[in-house]
């Protein structure tokens, strides 16, 4: 293939100009916001805070030499989430719904300290700091971690995240989509880091999270089928937190027909939905005679209100088109 043919073909990719310009603006604004100098605090106050923090760390270290934990109820004020591409975290931070954590664990000369957590609808966010000698890979510092003790029933349990260098170490962020159907009000999420900046080790945490209040909208008779009538698509409910929305839906089909069914739900809306950051995962599978039902949830990183959505599963997944369903979120 010659270079012209290749370029001409690539240039056929439509560019959503307006959205691209918006993304550029948001990116630059985030960088500008971060560069803006913060007000200096009086030295005495800083000293007292540092001493208090050291005191807490020392006391808790006496209780258990390897792991020290304190869960403070005080919400975090400040721009923690400015460093991370997490719109839900940023929105919750503004609403004072990100809780401070202080859990530390040391392994192989590398200290990991969890600094904050949120739990909103199906989304959980955790921030952490790292201290130690890390090595880059492809120009990035990576942390590999496992969630929920690698539970095979959870959709995705092993992930990589990149760390950002700070003045005295590194900072990182984990976003978890709760993999189970029922959402508990309080939970403890097992998070175990396996490799940080090319250092193998074992940093284990049980992260306590408390759910922000949720609203659940249950739907009845919101179902449709394909022309053959053997694939049934159903929207069961919508769950909203304080900064995110989840659509719970199911697809029922004759056993064996769509066993590779793998999402993802298409969504049209009468209002603008956020770009990117959606997640579609399986939360349940039910076999009833010769029928299989897959229950999934689509998480949108925004709080949707007064919105009408039109949703349908992808044709590629259902083999023949399924009639879209309209749902109203009050």
């Amino acid at each position: 293939m010659d270079k012209n043919t290749f370029s001409n073909k690539v240039n056929e990719v439509d560019v959503p100009k307006e959205e691209v310009l918006r993304s550029i603006k948001i990116g630059i604004n985030r960088a500008t916001e971060e560069k803006r100098p913060k007000k200096k605090k009086p030295i005495l106050k800083t000293w007292i805070m540092t001493a208090a923090a050291a005191g807490i760390l020392m006391c808790s270290s006496f209780i258990d030499p390897t792991i020290s934990r304190v869960l403070a109820d005080a919400p975090i004020i400040g721009g923690l989430y400015v460093n991370f591409n997490d719109m839900v975290g940023r929105s919750l931070e503004k609403q004072n719904l990100v809780k401070e954590l202080n859990q530390t664990y040391t392994s192989n000369g590398v200290d990991v300290a969890l600094t904050s957590a949120y739990y909103d609808g199906y989304l959980i966010g955790i921030t952490f700091d790292v201290k130690g000698i890390l090595q880059e890979e492809d120009g990035y510092y990576y942390a590999l971690y496992e969630l929920f003790n690698g539970d095979p029933l959870a959709d995705e349990t092993k992930e990589l995240t990149t760390l950002t260098k700070t003045k005295d170490g590194y900072t990182g962020h984990i976003r978890i989509v709760y993999p189970y159907k029922d959402l508990p009000k309080n939970d403890t999420i097992p998070v175990s880091f396996e490799e940080i900046g090319m250092n193998k080790g074992n940093w284990q945490f049980d992260v306590p999270v408390q759910q922000n209040p949720i609203e659940e909208y249950l739907f009845e008779n919101k179902e449709s089928t394909n022309p053959e009538g053997d694939v049934v698509f159903k929207v069961e409910s919508v769950i909203t937190g304080k900064a995110s929305t989840a659509i719970i839906y199911s697809v029922t089909y004759p056993k064996g027909k769509l066993d590779s069914f793998n999402g993802m739900l298409n969504v049209d809306s009468n209002t603008k939905l956020p770009m990117g950051g959606r997640s579609d995962g399986k939360i349940d599978q039910i076999t009833n005679g010769d029928k299989t039902t897959i229950v999934r949830k689509l998480v949108i990183p925004d709080l949707l209100k007064n919105t009408t959505l039109t949703v349908w599963p992808s044709d590629v997944e259902t083999h023949s088109p399924v009639e879209p369903i309209k749902i109203d979120i009050p």
Partner: protein
């Protein structure tokens, strides 16, 4: 204002000049991101992260003439990140195994490029779309030239396999 002046202003922290610069290259940056991540929403995320990271570290740009190479390198890293952070991660072996019913469908070039392993994909994009020489690709990706040669040759072979038997522009193209 010419591009070099915009770059100089941007290095001094002028956000408007930096925005202008990105707008000049926005089509190419978006399409590169799209080739990499394969969908609009993730490509827009890559653009946002690229703008954020590039403006945060614009002072590190030592040679103004290499602005495009520099920002492309940042975009590549952001595309790696977005892809890795995606919740429904598709493994390489899954990427290369298509369900039976998909094999008969037309696979176009952009889709096929999206199926290549990361390093081969980037070498192919920089060689064909950015019209870079082996040396320039090696500089951009900070990888030895011989390794780039291997990525290109393997990438071409795999593309040929993916596009084999399919057509675009009504003709069969041999890579």
């Amino acid at each position: 204002m010419d591009e070099l002046s915009l770059i100089r202003k941007a290095i001094q922290g002028d956000s408007e000049a930096f925005e202008q610069l990105l707008i000049v290259h926005s089509d190419r940056l978006y399409r590169t991101a799209y080739l990499y991540v394969g969908n609009r929403d993730d490509a827009l995320d890559v653009i946002q992260e690229t703008a954020y990271k590039a403006f945060s570290s614009i002072k590190q740009l030592r040679n103004e003439e290499f602005f495009l190479t520099w920002i492309t390198r940042i975009l590549i890293h952001c595309a790696y990140d977005v892809q890795r952070k995606r919740n429904n991660v598709v493994t390489l072996s899954e990427q290369l195994t298509f369900p039976r019913e998909r094999m008969d469908e037309k696979m176009d070039l952009t889709e096929a490029v999206g199926k290549l392993p990361e390093k081969q994909r980037m070498s192919i994009i920089l060689f064909y779309y950015y019209d870079m020489s082996l040396k320039e690709i090696a500089q951009t990706l900070k990888t030895p030239e011989n390794t780039i040669k291997t990525h290109l040759s393997r990438g071409k072979k795999l593309l040929r396999k993916l596009l084999g038997g399919s057509y675009f522009d009504g003709q069969k193209h041999i890579l």
